[in-house]
Structures are given as structure tokens and as C-alpha cells.
């Protein structure tokens, strides 16, 4: 019961989403057990270097389409290419990372190929060659086991749910160029420009996340500039609070997260929101500062390996989910915590 697996390498202008390599890691585990082979699918413009990396992470071969039509993320031509690659390569299983682009292309390709998609998979079973998956539903409150009766089976993997393999620089393989039978004129969308998102460590891929909630603005010791109105004064206080969160994050090489209350109060941009209506993360270490631990926040971070809660209210629900709890004012605790960690990490 050998398996042919096709892994979609998600990237932005040639820079891969790290979770793409997790698909290759999973594919290698399956094909080692059942036999078979793994191909990486790379679509874009100027993406040859990604092929080398894909081999290092375990691809046996690379299917690659290089064309200006595929340069920017436009779902329609990309989905056409995915469907064509699947028809050519005939995989049993197609794996995407659960990124904004991965989810979109998986869904569209499934329509073209008349099959189903199992999204945001956190577990996979292939006993006897029959693939079934496990995925969280209802914001992680329940787990569903899923099967797909049509071929190919298409799945998207939750980021960090599967191990990223160690790259092996001695590996290489053959690259098959896919023909791009599209012409740009037939594509209904065009990308006029991009707006940068300030960089920083990405939440979904982070090993460590430091998050701030409404408590970031609650520091009575601070005196905001007199010319600010009430709302601006609160945001000003929140900025001082988030500066402490950022300071700790910088020392740990961590990403900065936030509760919805902090986002809705305009303390920080939505991109940082963790939770049911934000990002779902599972870092090794999650430090929640001034966050109460509402069920919708927990939905986004509960699978973190170790949770630290810093909250001045010893009854805050977050403490029930935390490995370590610090009862106290985050504004007083973060500065000494940051310097203690800095000292330790400096050796």
C-alpha cells in the first residue's frame, strides 16, 4: 500500500512559510512506513531556490512552475496549477499548510478534483494504508475523526502540530518543470500593491509568545500627558504596557500576542489577536500578561506546552490552565523578569 504524497510549499515572493516543511516531515514518516515517494509542489516566479530547500527537508522530487502569472498570490491561476499538478502526478495524498493561502488553494483544488478537504489537521493515522485524520472543532472544545472516501485526499496541517524535519544538505533530486498553460489575460484579478506588515516574529510559527490583555493599560502609577482625552490616555497607557511585553518578547525571541479586549480597545493591531476570532497558536511557552482567560482566548492558546499567567487577580480563570502563575501587577513584574531572563540567556 505505497503512498504518493504531494506537499504544497506555501511562500510569499519566494520566502517559504516555515510550516510548509512540516508537511514534508509528515510525508517522510508516512512513506518510510508504507513505502512510496514525496513530491514538493512549488508555484511562483523566481522560486528555484525553494526547490533546493525542499530536497533538504525531504522531497524526493520537485514539481515546479515558474511564471510571472504565478508571482503574486492570485488564487485562480494557482488553483488551476495545483489541480493540473495533481492530475499529472496522481498523488494519493496532497498536503497544504493551514495558512491563508494553503486553506484557499486546498479548498479550490478540491472542487476542481471533486474530492474533499480535511482542514487544520492535528493528527493523522494511516494504519493499513487507510488515512484518517483528527482535527479540533468548536474552537478546540471537541475533536473530530475524519475520513475521506474520494481520491486524492487533501489535508491542511495545523502549524506546529507536526515536527519540522532537520534539513539535510546532502539531499537533492530532480526538478520537473510544469507547463503553465495559462495566459495572464484570462485572470480576473490583479495585484496593485502590497502593504508591509512591519515584520516581527510570526505568531503561528513562534516557539515562545508573550501576550498582553486589558491589563496592559491598567497601571495607575502612570500619568498620561495632560493634553490627551480619556480614550487617547488609555491607549497611551496601553502603549507603555505593551512596551514591557515587547521588551520581554525581544529577550526571548518571542512573538507578541494580545487578547481581543486589547485589540478592540485599539491597544494593538488585529494581526496580534490570539483566540477563537484571532490566531490559533501552540508555542512551547505562552506568557499571558493581564489576560483573564476567557474561553474564546483559551481556544487560541490552550495547546501551548507551558503556560505562564501573570495576573493581579488570584481568581482569574487563566490560572486554571497555567503551569506557573504569578499573582501581581504585570507592570511591576515584567521589568525584573525581563532582566532576569536576559541575564540567564546571556549565559
Amino acid at each position: 500500500m505505497t503512498k504518493k504524497i504531494l506537499a504544497y510549499i506555501d511562500h510569499f515572493h519566494g520566502k517559504a512559510q516555515p510550516s510548509s516543511w512540516e508537511s514534508l516531515g509528515l510525508a517522510a514518516v508516512i512513506t518510510k512506513d508504507l513505502g512510496g515517494e514525496t513530491a514538493a509542489l512549488i508555484l511562483g516566479e523566481g522560486v528555484n531556490e525553494l526547490a533546493d530547500t525542499a530536497f533538504q527537508y525531504g522531497a524526493d522530487q520537485v514539481l515546479l512552475a515558474d511564471s510571472p502569472i504565478l508571482k503574486d498570490f492570485r488564487p485562480e491561476p494557482l488553483a488551476d496549477m495545483v489541480a493540473q499538478a495533481v492530475k499529472d502526478y496522481q498523488p494519493d495524498l496532497v498536503i497544504f499548510p493551514t495558512t491563508s493561502r494553503g486553506r484557499t488553494l486546498a479548498g479550490m483544488a478540491a472542487v476542481d478534483l471533486d474530492t474533499g478537504v480535511m482542514v487544520d489537521v492535528i493528527g493523522l493515522d494511516w494504519a493499513g494504508g487507510e488515512i484518517s485524520t483528527t482535527r479540533p472543532i468548536y474552537g478546540g472544545k471537541l475533536l473530530a475523526k475524519l475520513t475521506c472516501s474520494t481520491s486524492p485526499q487533501i489535508i491542511t496541517l495545523r502549524t506546529r502540530a507536526f515536527d519540522k524535519p532537520e534539513p539535510d544538505s546532502s539531499r537533492s533530486g530532480s526538478v520537473t518543470a510544469l507547463e503553465v498553460g495559462l495566459n495572464g489575460a484570462g485572470v480576473a484579478t490583479s495585484i496593485t500593491s502590497h502593504q508591509d506588515k512591519g515584520g516581527g516574529v510570526s505568531l503561528s510559527d513562534a516557539n515562545v509568545i508573550v501576550s498582553g490583555g486589558r491589563g496592559v493599560a491598567l497601571n495607575p502609577a502612570l500619568e498620561p500627558p495632560a493634553d490627551l482625552d480619556e480614550e487617547a490616555a488609555e491607549v497611551w497607557k496601553a502603549e507603555q504596557g505593551f512596551a514591557l511585553v515587547q521588551g520581554l518578547a525581544d529577550v526571548l525571541g518571542a512573538a507578541v500576542g494580545a487578547s481581543r479586549a486589547a485589540v478592540d480597545a485599539k491597544y494593538i493591531e488585529y494581526d496580534h489577536q490570539v483566540g477563537q476570532t484571532g490566531k490559533v497558536v501552540s508555542p512551547d511557552l505562552y506568557i499571558a500578561c493581564g489576560i483573564s482567560g476567557a474561553i474564546q482566548h483559551l481556544a487560541g492558546m490552550r495547546s501551548s506546552k507551558v503556560i505562564v499567567a501573570i495576573n493581579k487577580d488570584s481568581d482569574a480563570p487563566i490560572f486554571n490552565f497555567a503551569r506557573f502563575g504569578l499573582v501581581g501587577d504585570m507592570h511591576a513584574i515584567l521589568p525584573p523578569l525581563t532582566s532576569a531572563l536576559k541575564e540567564y540567556l546571556a549565559g
Partner: protein, 283 residues
């Protein structure tokens, strides 16, 4: 079945500052009923239960309704809420109407029990075609129950319309010229996308706070009547599903022993936490 903008509605458009002939938009908003996000979920004999938690409109879909209302307020038009569900699953439609949608359509058929996303998108696509002449179909980003986020793109693919997903801003919508420009969000960057109409758009939370329904809106919605279409009404066969959910379970919660870090001063607590984190091997 669909109410065309009546004279009263027409009057409303004529008062709009940006209203010009040919620029009004016909928008279908897809909304779903789900259990409240605060519900405790259990599995009893294989069946999913949310106890007596309230049923609500899928929270993501409120952003889509809000976007539709703002577009129509700007340039005139009509909003139809579309919901696929079991008979009696009326919360999503009622909420959309109470927020200000003009009319609604429910699609309900016992044959759709257990339909997967591809099957559901075939039904939505057929309903969108039956409603007809939409410039835009708006979706929420994803359902908070099944959490798939697939229907917008799958429905668009079936309709052969462009998919504009995770949109936080409408730069311009011009049904007259058949053009739209939106800001779409990706992990690394935002993207300004120009597209032709009709198009499918999924609206993200970043769009802005959805309004609360007004008292008048709630009253109107509670009395609203709307058609319920079956698969036969849509003129399609039962679409086949390839995804099955043979088993749903409550996750085994890992035992968490919470250790409260003691110390006289913040400095002592900080030091003590660092030692614990080192011992826990997470640094």
C-alpha cells in the same frame, strides 16, 4: 420570491449621497447559525451537545453583514441574507435582518444531513444563482463550529467567480463598470486586489465592529417572512459528500498542576519563575 427594492426602498436610495444609477449593489450575505462560543460542548452517545447554550449568528458573519450594510448605505442596493440549515435554524437570518438586511432566503432539505463543505458549497452556489444578479456574495471568514473556512472559496470556484478572501477593506465597488478593489490580508502583507464583478468576498474581523441590531430592527426581523427552498426548488440533485465524521470526542484534558510562584517582591518572583522555567526546559 425575492422582494425587489420597493418604492419605499427606492426613496431611501434617492436620499443617499453617493447613489447614482448603475452603482447600486445587490449583495447576498451567507450566514450560519451556531452555538454560542461560550457554550460547554459535550458528546453524549456520539451526538454533539451544547446543553442549553443560546444559538447565535456565526460571529464572523456579523462582519460580513456589517460590510454589506455600509456598502449599501454608501451607494444604494439590496442585501439578501442566505442561510443553509435545518428547518427552524433561524437565528442567523433573524440577526442579519435585525441588523438591516432587506430580505432572506433559507435553504433546507433533510437530504443535506451530514453534507460536507464541497456539497454545501454546491447548494449555496445553486441558491446564489437562483436568487440571481448578485454583484457580490459576502461570507464570514469561517464557521466557529466546524472551523473550516472553505465555503467562500469553494462556492466561488463553482460559480467561476473570483475569490477575494480575508478582506478588511473595500477600496471601491463599481457594479456599473463591473469592478471592485479590496484590501486582502495575508500572513506577511496586505494585498490591494483589483477584480471583476461579480465576486465572492470573505470579510475578516479587521473590517470593523459590527453594529448591534436596533429595537426596531429586532421587531421587524421577528415578523419577517422568507422562503425556504428545498433541493428540488433549486433544481439540483443531492450533492455527494466525501468527508465523513465517524467519531467526535471530548479531548482528554492534560492534567495541569498550577504552581503559584511565591516571593516577597516582584524581583524575587521574577527570579523564582526563571528558575522554574529553566527546570521545565522551555528556555
Amino acid at each position: 420570491m425575492i422582494t425587489k427594492p420597493g418604492s419605499q426602498v427606492q426613496e431611501k436610495y434617492n436620499q443617499l449621497s453617493n447613489y447614482k444609477e448603475g452603482n447600486s449593489v445587490k449583495i447576498i450575505v451567507c450566514v450560519k447559525q451556531v452555538p454560542d462560543t461560550a457554550a460547554t460542548m459535550t458528546v453524549d452517545n456520539g451526538a454533539i451537545s451544547w446543553g442549553d447554550a443560546p444559538l447565535i449568528i456565526n460571529p464572523w458573519d456579523e462582519f460580513a453583514v456589517e460590510a454589506a450594510l455600509n456598502l449599501v448605505a454608501d451607494q444604494g442596493g439590496e442585501i439578501i441574507a442566505l442561510c443553509l440549515g435545518k428547518e427552524g435554524e433561524t437565528e442567523a437570518i433573524k440577526h442579519a435582518l435585525a441588523m438591516g438586511a432587506d430580505s432572506a432566503v433559507m435553504v433546507s432539505d433533510p437530504a443535506l444531513e451530514g453534507a460536507d463543505n464541497v456539497a454545501a458549497s454546491k447548494v449555496l452556489a445553486a441558491a446564489i444563482q437562483k436568487i440571481g444578479e448578485a454583484d457580490l456574495v459576502l461570507f464570514g471568514q469561517q464557521s466557529v463550529d466546524t472551523d473550516t473556512g472553505l465555503l467562500p472559496v469553494q462556492t466561488a470556484r463553482l460559480l467561476k467567480w473570483p475569490s477575494l478572501t480575508l478582506v478588511s477593506k473595500f477600496e471601491s465597488v463599481n457594479p456599473g463598470d463591473g469592478k471592485i478593489q479590496v484590501l486582502r490580508s495575508m500572513e506577511e502583507a496586505g494585498q490591494i486586489v483589483d477584480s471583476s464583478l461579480p465576486a465572492v468576498v470573505s470579510v475578516t474581523k479587521d473590517y470593523g465592529e459590527p453594529r448591534y441590531p436596533s429595537f426596531m430592527g429586532i421587531r421587524k426581523a421577528s415578523k419577517a417572512e422568507y422562503p425556504v427552498w428545498s433541493l428540488a426548488d433549486l433544481g439540483i440533485e443531492t450533492p455527494s459528500s466525501s468527508i465523513a465524521w465517524p467519531e467526535v470526542t471530548e479531548p482528554v484534558q492534560k492534567e495541569i498542576v498550577t504552581e503559584i510562584i511565591e516571593g516577597e517582591t516582584p524581583e524575587e518572583k521574577a527570579k523564582s519563575l526563571v528558575e522554574k522555567l529553566i527546570a521545565e526546559k522551555v528556555l
